[in-house]
Amino acid sequence: MLRGYALYVAIMILFMVSLICGSLLMLYDLNDKEYYIYETDRRLRNNVESTFNELSTAEIEQGVIVKDLFGEKRDSVEMSSGNWGMLSYISVKAFSGDRSRSKSALMGPLLHSKEEYAIYLANSNKTFSLCGNTLIKGKCFIPESGVKRIHIDGIDFMGDQLIEGDQEKSTSALPEIRKEFTDHVASYLQGKFDDKDSVMIFTGDSVKVLRSFRERTLVMKNSGPMVLENIEYRGKIIIQASGWVEIKNTAILEDIVIMAPVIFIDEGFKGSGQFFASDSLMTGNDCKFLYPSVLAVIGIKDTASAMLNLGEGSKVMGAVFNYQQKQAVNNRNLLSLSKDSEVYGQVYSNGLLEIKGSVYGSVVCEKFILRTNSSIYENHLLDATVDISKLPEGFIGVSLLKENKDLDILKWLN
């Protein structure tokens, strides 16, 4: 016998409709929440980008700052900044309720190839003399006695024009260096470190160390000489050594800072980082220092003559400088760029500078020096190239000089 069961069927329908309605309501709620999260994240992302844009036009204050971004009391951001070698490190965190978004970057000054000068040679009443296949392209600040072609060891100047660009008189003082950066590096070279740093003794056991820039700086201290080989160090790491450091070409380095009295970098090394020595820094031939890299000697003692030598065929994307904090009368720090070496960016020496390779960027020095088999010449260049027009558009350098003000994002960090 078949019955109608109208009520049972209706209850079944009720049950099924309840399930469908429940699913629809959940879908609605989910959609609403997703949209809220999407919108909040979009606003936070905009706030982070806006903060970086604002920072690129303002002086960066050190430390941690929380600010109301647009003065409307609804967009708050937290900024923390500090020095990372010769660069500025900025971390921005935008937050709203329990959601936040953060981004960190290395920042440096934007070098405008049209506005920057190719050479600033301090006025020392020694004529600037060019010889051989020398090419100088860009605006130059040169001594009052001017520039001339010269004949050395049977070689004459081969170009049509001595300087392809405007010439202006330089002063006896070099453009002022940003001491807040060099002093910061010098303090680490003297063995000091920041209270907030995580300090550990370098044992060489850690083959691979990756340190995020969101974490504290990891300072690896070592007393005595050390050799870095078959290791991979990346991120917010400072290696601080009181003896010499040798870096083999099997070492993989990225963004780290190495500080030691003497640094040797082996032939064929490839990597990025900032290498600071207080006494001397020598690189082997055919090294490639990827962007952004800094090779520097910061002389912290007034007695020693600091020496930096870039090996033959080596290439640096960033900056190379030799800065003696206190100049002794008879000591001259020397920065030497060997044959076929290339530097894209900035070169600075408040002592002597020898160029046998090419600089695609800006050169600032007290005196040029040319060493040949027969003699040593002051303010002479032979077979050298300084061409600022080949500096890539929008190139971000390092905060070396006070005149380098407009900061821009050099590299986004993890």
């Binding site: 109208a6 009520l7 069927v9 469908i20 629809l24 879908l27 979009r42």
Partner: protein, 111 residues
């Protein structure tokens, strides 16, 4: 031939009421979900807003502008700040006189 036993009148009426309530609830829920496509519409509007932001930043278009998308208006204004190279981009999304969304963004004016 099988006998079909009819339900009682009360049973049938209760069943009809239940089915009616079910239908009403289902259509209410359905309507609610359909209305959530507003967020999809806002998503599309915000895409347009992002496009305006991008053009201001990358193409250096610092002129005030107004874009209409059906009933919705997107109003773009660019204001000066204390720094000559920094501009404040303000965008408002309005439907009639109702403000749906507004936000600010700093733009760098590089030559």
């Amino acid at each position: 031939m099988a006998k079909l036993k009819g339900a009682t009148l009360v049973e049938a009426i209760i069943a009809m009421v239940i089915v009616s309530i079910c239908s009403a609830a289902f259509f209410s829920c359905f309507q609610l979900v359909i209305s959530s496509t507003k967020s999809i519409r806002m998503g599309k509007i915000m895409e347009q807003v992002e496009d305006i932001k991008y053009k201001t930043q990358e193409e250096k278009d610092f002129e005030d502008d107004e874009v209409e998308l059906g009933d919705v208006k997107i109003l773009k204004t660019v204001k000066d700040t204390d720094h000559e190279k920094l501009k404040l981009l303000h965008i408002e999304v309005k439907e009639g006189e109702v403000l749906l969304e507004d936000f600010n963004y700093f733009v760098v004016k590089n030559d």
